[in-house]
Amino acid sequence: MGAVDRRSGRDPEFEAFVAGAAGRLLHVAVLLTAEPLYGAPAGASGGASGPTPASTAAPAARRILAGALARTYAHWERLRGDDPYDHTRQELCAAYARTARRLPPGTGVLARLGPLERLVLVMRVYEGVAEEVTAAQLGLTPERVEAVCNRAVATMRAPAQEAA
């Protein structure tokens, strides 16, 4: 199984892509799910207080990323000139949008924002995706994307100003 894919160069290309992009994509996924990276949540089994090992931290983010990467792999031949990173990020955001209601709100950086605000903030501010592209991928109008982005930025800055 997979002998054809290996011969046609899909597997080495895909592995090189994952090696280069997985770190940033996983960070995007963790930002979206707002899962804690370090320290078990209160009341977790055994009361372990040390840093959570990488193999168990942020399970939802890792699951979403694995699914998005698998879809990119399956889509590899049809990407043609497209950037696999863009494709994977789009799949990642779509997967998060599908499952956001079933996920816990989280305790990470963006825990205070709703799913749509997180998506818009991460895509516009962190990933620097153009407003029109963000709007098309999320199925919104560009004006709405701008409004949500402004609101999210204001929400994120509010406590920082109080602390200063």
């Binding site: 895909f14 592995e15 770190g23 996983l26 960070h27 990467l69 962190y126 920082a160």
Partner: protein, 83 residues
């Protein structure tokens, strides 16, 4: 730099937290999952084409046997006799 760009930059700095460690074997697992997905998709497509071809063949055979385009002889009017 506009005020909004400055605000964006502040939020961006907030988002640049510690990067999580990528679990080992992620690429291999994703490739295996993707390969499974491809195989399933291919099988589904083959099944769809098979059903479509079988339906077309069955229709052709049925049409050749029953000639549904031929109008059946009208048996309402009585046969014309005695002329």
């Amino acid at each position: 730099m506009s005020p909004f760009d400055r605000k964006e930059a502040q939020v961006r700095a907030l988002l640049e937290g510690p990067h999580p460690a990528v679990p080992a074997g992620l690429a291999a697992a994703a490739a295996a999952h993707g390969r499974r997905m491809l195989r399933r998709r291919r099988a589904l497509r083959r099944f769809g084409w098979t059903v479509l071809c079988a339906a077309a063949l069955a229709f052709a055979v049925w049409a050749a046997l029953t000639h549904p385009w031929v109008t059946p002889p009208a048996d309402v009017s009585p046969p014309l006799e005695g002329w």
